[in-house]
């Protein structure tokens, strides 16, 4: 009975839980409650993915209204996979949250912090689960507004400007998406994505469709933070509270990638986007610049969190490469990288937060000799960093393997070369961190610091450990991603 309502529960539970958090009035109660909710959401996401993998696409009618009049939640291999990533990272980060939030957020605001966090989660899950284009916009606004608030909670005042910058850029992006959806609605009279997928290609290359495509694509690229739309990302990630940086880095841009896949492949269709329009060329060019430039800028950062943020700009480029190649192997690579990067970067930002928790700073100069003082945290940074480089047996290697293979299959060997060259730049910035922590002695007046609390370690290692586990056992991720990619390339769901 309840199993049939799982799709709506996935989104409704955190939405209802958010005001409950406000009512709880105490940070520690709110934390316990949020933890329970997040693990419940993970269970729901896992059940949904299982249903989709065994029984195919799920269509859920909200309130029993039949689509296209009513809102439909439609789950196929693609978004069920992304739901699992979002719910999974949120759940795994909850053990970490308590101490981290206690240090960074004022006591009277802590329960509100968890409430907003649940709203951000609602938005991200909603975007992913819904089968309605306008609904995507609504949830996008929910997640964005919540993210602005979360980022502004950072301990430094620059968090406010970072949040404001994100607000401006994010609003522009969301507006563009809304305008694009408006065009589609005007031309087709429907907002249901499955319905749009049938009607939009039938319209042909009319100016309205072209305009809709342009608005939506650019809007989504802003949310995805693909070069040159990435300017909001580094500051937002660097100055947000540790928990927020990690959560957004692991999920927000991933949902952006999902929106891009959904609009381009399902609504507009592969033929329109990649054959009529030169989206392959555009995406590949932007993505490769992102990979090289983002990574290169990361090399010259003096702060660990900013370094990781710019690394994200580069890693998002890899997603763009896979999507731009528009082949089953390429999209598989992109989806696997969505999953793997969520683990690696989530884990790395958690580790950076742990360092901030102990040292109060994440400057690379503050990291000198930290390999001995915080051995477990630094080991997590090293393993996560090796994943960013794409060293074998980390999951980063697996995604890059598929991306390079896809480039070869399309005969685009220069793309393969660029993807591999990006790894080298990643090596340079990871190397700087390793050198600072292991091969520079701690200053003699350094305060003695101990390892971070075990709960924070637990979350960090759950994600970092996952990134190694899924580097070795790729059956789960690759099989799911491949099926999702096949669904996407086949066109209409």
């Amino acid at each position: 009975m309840i199993a049939t309502h799982l799709p709506v529960l996935q989104v409704a539970v955190p939405l209802i839980a958010a005001p409950v958090c406000v009512l709880l009035r105490r940070g520690d109660y709110a934390w316990v409650f949020t933890t329970v909710v997040c693990w419940g959401l993970l269970a729901i996401a896992a059940l949904l993915l299982d249903q989709v993998m065994s029984g195919g696409t799920i269509s859920y009618r909200l309130g029993g209204w039949a689509p296209p009049i009513g809102i439909e939640y439609r789950l196929d291999g693609v978004n069920a996979f992304v739901l699992l990533i979002i719910a999974g990272t949120a759940a795994l980060m909850m053990p970490y949250a308590r101490q981290s939030v206690e240090q960074e957020v004022r006591p009277e605001r802590r329960h509100l912090f968890y409430a907003i966090f649940l709203l951000a989660l609602t938005g991200l899950l909603g975007i992913t689960a819904t089968g309605d284009a306008f609904n995507i916009y609504v949830f996008l606004e929910i997640s964005s507004l919540a993210s602005y608030v979360l980022i502004a909670q950072g301990r430094r005042r620059r968090a406010l400007t970072a949040s404001y910058q994100y607000l401006i850029v994010g609003t522009i992006g969301a507006s563009l998406i809304l305008i694009g959806i408006g065009f589609l609605y005007a031309k087709t009279g429907t907002l249901n994505i499955a319905d749009l997928a049938v009607r939009v290609p039938a319209l042909g290359e009319t100016p309205a469709v072209l305009a809709a495509f342009a608005f939506i694509t650019v809007g989504v690229l802003i949310k995805l933070a693909l070069f040159p739309f990435h300017v909001w990302l580094p500051n937002a990630y660097a100055y947000a509270p540790s928990m927020v940086s990690a959560f957004l880095a692991a999920t927000a841009t991933k949902v952006g990638a999902y929106m891009l896949l959904r609009f381009v492949f399902t609504v507009f269709g592969v033929h329109f986007a990649f054959e009529t329009l030169p989206l392959t060329e555009i995406l590949l060019a932007l993505s490769l610049i992102a990979v090289l430039a983002g990574s290169l800028v990361a090399v010259f950062q003096s702060d660990l969190k900013r370094l990781l943020a710019f690394s994200s700009v580069g890693q998002i480029g890899y997603l763009g490469v896979g999507i731009g190649l528009a082949s089953v192997t390429g999209v598989t690579g992109a989806l696997v990288h969505v999953f793997n990067h969520a683990l690696m970067k989530g884990g790395l930002f958690l580790a950076a937060g742990t360092i901030a928790y102990r040292l109060g700073a994440t400057d690379l100069s503050a990291l000198h000799g930290l390999g001995r003082r915080m051995p477990f945290t630094m080991a997590a940074v090293v393993i996560g960093g090796l994943g960013l480089v794409g060293v074998p047996i980390t999951s980063g290697f697996v995604s890059k393997w598929y991306l390079v293979q896809a480039a070869f299959e399309e005969g685009l060997w220069p793309v393969a070369l660029f993807v591999l060259a990006g790894s080298l730049i990643a090596l340079a910035y990871v190397g700087r961190v390793v050198e600072a922590a292991y091969f520079r002695p701690a200053p003699p007046d350094a305060e003695p610091v101990g390892e971070a609390p075990w709960a924070m370690q637990l979350s960090t290692w759950a994600l970092i450990g996952g990134s190694v586990y899924f580097g070795l056992h790729t059956d789960l991720t690759v099989v799911i991603a491949e099926r999702a990619a096949t669904v996407l390339l086949a066109g209409a769901p």
Binding site: V389, W401, F408, L424, Y438, F439, V478
Partner: protein
């Protein structure tokens, strides 16, 4: 124990050893004991697999797939067996040596040092036993990463800079060129298994094969083909046992071993010989042999001189493969063994001199033979061995290489090989002359001051190995003969 279990155990032993070494961090003596026991156990396991390989068996074990259709797999074959035997045997000697060296020079970070050593050996065994190019690549990268902390061990600015060069060259060549070539091979040939006769013949056009050869040969940066050799002299900043085992044996031999694997099992000797656009490899290898020797002549730092000598000698092995004749490949494979024993002896001596006399420069070695006669005797053995004089091992490998060049009618190569022996003599013999016949007469009563016993013992074992391989080359030859292609 089945062969498959033995293979996995050989990989697991050094890993388990690394954990035990980490766990015994607070008890140094126990930690050293664990290191030695691990090394002995590894050699025992590897040795127990040797008879099967010598009898022509090819035990295999496949674990799980990392990429669909590409399992982590291990398969024993003569070349890998040879490499594993050398690396694991010399690890025992090096561990004993390390104990003396680390104590006498009061090195810090001992746990990291021994753990990384064990991890490097595990990686080297993985390279040796790899059943496909994919698995080999995994362990090849692991070997680079596990040896990096050993290069930067001292943590000085110089060491950090050397570490950057080391990682920079080894990882960038392996990721940008080698991995690129591997993926290309995978897409074109549909397999990465090592097969006698190669997997590329018939699968790719000759032009693609020629490009792939460039990518592989320069992508295997550990083979130190010029101009990608700079990481090896840079790595000399590491403690001497590291230079001895890793940068004269495990790491560099993993490089030339991979070169031979690629030539024999990916390209196939026949395919390579018939291929247009492979002659350059002979030329580059020959040029590396000569140029590196010339640079070695000018080095005053003993370890750097040895390093350039290694660069030169590694290209013997590459050359053997590049000749693509039966005798060439056999000679290359044998040279992996003979150079390993000769060069580790020399490095052991260099470390002994540094420990006992705190001298690093060749120009400081006047009369050192009187203070350290045993060490310098061993040095003479290693040096004469590498020059290729009897009764030492390298004679045999050079013999086969010359035969291989002759079979391929490469007269110039023969000239290079003979000329190089002369150059070897030019940069080794003056050291011996200085040591035993100093320009200024030594005071009559020079006290003997040899390095501590563990160092001395390990050095002697390595030197004896050089001689033993000359008198008993048959075992070596039997092992590598199947590479010649006669089934």
């Amino acid at each position: 124990m089945s062969h498959a279990a033995q293979i996995l155990a050989a990989l697991a032993v050094p890993v388990a050893g690394a954990f035990l070494i980490w766990a015994t961090a607070r008890r140094p003596v126990l930690q050293e004991a664990v290191s030695v026991v691990t090394a002995v156990a590894l050699f025992g396991l590897v040795l127990s697999l040797a008879p099967a390989v010598a009898a022509g068996e090819a035990p295999r074990v496949a674990l799980f797939d990392i990429v669909r259709g590409l399992p982590i797999a291990f398969a024993l074959e003569p070349l890998g067996m040879l490499f594993a035997l050398i690396a694991s045997f010399l690890w025992i000697a090096t561990t004993v040596y390390s104990i003396g060296y680390v104590r006498a020079n009061d090195e810090g970070h001992r746990t990291r040092y021994y753990v990384c050593f064990a991890a490097a050996l595990a990686s080297a065994i993985g390279v040796a036993f790899a059943g496909n190019m994919f698995t080999l690549f995994l362990f090849y990268e692991a070997l680079t990463l596990s040896t990096y902390p050993l290069v930067t061990h001292s943590g000085t600015e110089e060491a950090r800079r050397a570490g950057r060069t080391y990682l920079g060259i080894l990882l960038s060549t392996s990721i940008v060129l080698q991995l690129f070539a591997i993926l290309w091979t995978w897409v074109e040939a549909g397999t990465l298994d090592f097969r006698m006769g190669g997997i590329l013949a018939g699968a790719v056009s000759e032009r693609t094969a020629a490009v792939l050869l460039v990518l592989y040969m320069f992508g295997i940066g550990k083979a130190a083909l010029m101009p990608l050799h700079a990481w090896l002299p840079a790595a000399m900043v590491a403690p001497t046992p590291v230079s001895a085992l890793l940068h004269a044996v495990a790491v560099v031999k993993a490089g030339v071993f991979t070169v031979l694997k690629v030539i024999v099992y990916i390209f196939g000797v026949d395919f390579l010989r018939g291929m247009a656009g492979s002659e350059w490899l002979i030329a580059v290898a020959a040029a590396t042999i000569v140029i590196a020797s010339l640079i070695a002549l000018r080095q005053d730092d003993l370890k750097r001189r040895l390093a350039y000598s290694t660069v030169s000698q590694l290209s013997y092995v590459v050359l053997g493969g590049a000749l693509a004749t039966s005798a060439g490949v056999v000679g290359g494979a044998m040279h992996i063994a003979t150079h390993a024993f000769g060069k580790i002896t020399l490095f052991f001596c260099a470390g002994a001199i540094y420990t006992a006399a705190h001298k690093r420069l060749v120009s400081e070695l006047d009369g050192i033979g009187y203070r350290m006669p045993v060490t310098m005797g061993a040095f003479a053995v290693g040096a004469l061995g590498l020059i290729g004089l009897p009764p030492f091992a390298a004679l045999w490998s050079k013999w086969y290489l010359v035969t291989g060049a002759d079979d391929g009618s490469h007269i110039a190569v023969i000239a290079v090989l003979l000329g190089s022996s002369l150059l070897n003599a030019l940069y080794f013999v003056p050291i011996l002359v200085r040591a035993f016949f100093p320009a200024t007469p030594m005071p009559v009563a020079v006290g003997r001051a040899e390095a501590p016993l563990p160092i001395l013992a390990a050095t002697l074992v390595a030197a004896l190995g050089t001689a033993a391989l000359f008198f008993y080359p048959q075992a070596l030859l039997t092992l590598v003969q199947p590479l010649a292609g006669t089934p």
